[in-house]
Each structure stands twice: as structure tokens, then as C-alpha cells.
Symmetry: C2
Subunit: 205 residues, 2 copies
């Protein structure tokens, strides 16, 4: 029998699907309903493949034991790639940040994924982050330079300070991403902090 949830008379299976879709970032209740109908109208082309893709991902994707990246192989494709600089390690908060750096094509070293940032507000302490692996990699001498690529937010910068501190006793040199005007950015729309940072870090033209 169908049942009433959120005012819709439909099967419990559809309701359950809508509720789960609504928990994805970027989808609210309304767009989750649209997505569910979109899937139901495209069973062979989309619904079945998506169900399979989710099952496949759950079965094979795991965290790399070296760097914390998500991949179907362990060590991950990046840690296993001999063409990438082993000694240059970019420290990021989340796998999404690693993906953003990879899309830029500007980095040819390895990574270390923390799995979050320190946050007093959310009660995230150093023990909740993938930090010990980073310290061990640095102490073993495997890291020539650790580039802290963390968000320019309070939590991101707190985390950067903490990690710089922890790495200070190791052979690893520690650096950070530069602040400045985003490429394509208009000065008129930039916040004062960014303009000040770009002025301070000015370079010969």
C-alpha cells in the first residue's frame, strides 16, 4: 500500500528514495522529488546504472593507507605514480581539495589528506585528523617540502599553524599557498584582506 509522507500519496519506496536524495548536498526536498521522477522516467539509461555505480563504489573504493586519498587501488594511483615527485607533498583537508588541485594540472607531487580541519566550534581536535601519518612521513625524511594547501578560513589557518608547528622538528621544509588576486578576479569585488595580501606580496612587473 502507498502511504502519506510529506503530503504525497505514493509508494513507500519512492518516498524513501526522495528522502535519501534530499540528503545530498545541493538537493532540497523539491529538487529531490524532481530527481526521483527523472530517475523513474529513465530506468535503463540512468536509474539502473546509478544503482550499479553506487554498489561498485561501495565495493572497491577505499582510503589510501599512505596519503588518505580515495581510490580503487591502495596505494592510490597518485602515490603509485613513479612520474610524480615523491618528496613534494601537498597537505589538503579533504579529497575534494585534492581533486581541485589535480584539475589545475599545476601540481606534480604527492598529497596528504587530513580528512578535515581543526575546529574548536565543531570539537575537531588533532586526534580526529589523519596527522600521525604525515608526521611519520616527514620524520622518515620522505618529505622534502610540505605545501599546506588549506582553506583561507579561521579553521584552515589554525590547522596550517598547528601542522607547521608539528613539522618544525622534521627535515621537511613547510610552505603555504600564496594569497592574492584570483586570476580573472575584479579588484572592485575583492575583500580588503585579499587586496592587502596581494599588495604585501607584490612582485616586479
Amino acid at each position: 500500500m502507498g502511504e502519506m509522507v510529506a503530503g504525497i500519496m505514493t509508494g513507500p519506496e519512492i518516498e524513501r528514495l526522495i528522502q535519501l536524495l534530499a540528503r545530498l548536498p545541493g538537493l532540497g526536498p523539491r529538487s529531490a522529488r524532481r530527481a526521483a521522477l527523472h530517475l523513474l522516467k529513465r530506468r535503463e539509461a540512468l536509474l539502473d546504472p546509478l544503482a550499479r555505480a553506487l554498489t561498485d563504489v561501495a565495493a572497491v573504493v577505499k582510503a589510501c593507507h599512505v596519503c588518505g586519498n580515495l581510490d580503487s587501488v591502495d596505494p592510490c594511483s597518485i602515490c603509485a605514480d613513479p612520474r610524480r615527485d615523491t618528496g613534494l607533498v601537498c597537505v589538503v583537508a579533504e579529497v575534494g581539495d585534492l581533486w581541485a588541485l589535480e584539475r589545475s594540472g599545476a601540481f606534480k607531487g604527492r598529497y596528504h589528506v587530513l580528512g578535515g580541519t581543526l575546529s574548536a566550534l565543531d570539537g575537531v581536535g588533532p586526534d580526529r585528523l589523519n596527522l600521525n601519518g604525515l608526521i611519520q612521513r616527514a620524520e622518515s625524511g620522505a618529505i622534502r617540502e610540505a605545501i599546506l594547501a588549506l582553506d583561507a578560513t579561521v579553521d584552515g589557518q589554525t590547522t596550517a599553524h598547528y601542522i607547521a608547528d608539528r613539522l618544525s622538528g622534521t627535515p621537511a621544509k613547510v610552505s603555504r599557498l600564496a594569497h592574492g588576486v584570483p586570476v580573472g578576479g575584479e579588484l572592485d569585488y575583492l575583500d580588503d584582506g585579499t587586496i592587502a595580501a596581494a599588495l604585501n606580496a607584490r612582485r616586479p612587473a
Copy 2:
């Protein structure tokens, strides 16, 4: 091995999942990546249940042979509900429109889902819509009144005209949703057509 698609070095399973998620309405490539990571961080709480929900929906949800609604039972819960007026049938383009009417709680009759609207531009003719079932329901005398609840767009109104024409030889009385000022709507933001329709259909206060 991981592979390069869209600039991301990751497993092919994750890439496939992102590509499929990006085909949902409301999700682009960027939000599909965020959704995939969100799922990977919540395997037990979200990824596994979503995979199961999709499989369940694909297994049990079907179109009602009477009205075209989607449900896990056939006839659907609405067609099978003895408390609803059998002779009052609301004709809608899509199941999403049926859901919208159900959420309003204002309609206690049955439905007929066309599965789309006539569209010269998209080459959708009467044969592509679930029309024969509606004509048969009307000819059998089962429909006292057919309320055409179609979008107030060119295609929606063309479809309404066509259906009114086809039903004119049957015992069914045909009506339409009223045009007017949306509840909570501000006159200043309404288009001229709506204001004119609301004026023409004015009622004693």
C-alpha cells in the same frame, strides 16, 4: 588503475558515479563531485541505503494501468482508494504535477497522467501521450468531470484545447484550473497576462 577523466586522477568507479550524478536535474559537474564525496564519507548512513533504495524502486514501482501514476501497487493507491470521488478526474501532464496537487490537499478525486504535453517543437504528437486510456474512461461514462490541470504555457494550453476537443463527444464535462493572482503574490511582480485574467475572472468580495 585510476584514470584521468575531466582532469581528476581517481578510480574509474568514482568517475562513473560522478558522471551519472551530474545527469540528475539540479546537479552540475561541480555539485556532482561534492555529492559523490558526501556519499563516500557516509557509506553506511547514505551510500548503501541510496543504492538499496534505487534497486527497490526499480524492482517495485510501475505505472498504474488505469491512470498512469507511479506506485508500487497497480491500480495505484489513489485509484484503489474508495474514499476518493471516482467520477472527478484531474488530467495532468506528469506525475510531478499529480504530487503537487496531492500536496495541496485540495483535490479528492482521481487522476489521469498524460506523460507529457503536445509539443510541435519537440515533435510530441497525440500518439506519444497516454490519451487513449482517458478517452476510454470518458466514453465508458466513468468520468463525470475532467479537470484539465495543465501548465499555463503554450504547450500546456495547446494540449488542453486538444483534449477538450477529444472529450467533447463523451459524457464528461470538461473544466480547467482558474487563472488569477497566486496566493501571497504581489501585483507589482505579476505579468500583464495574469493581471488581465484575474480582472476578467473577478468575483464579488
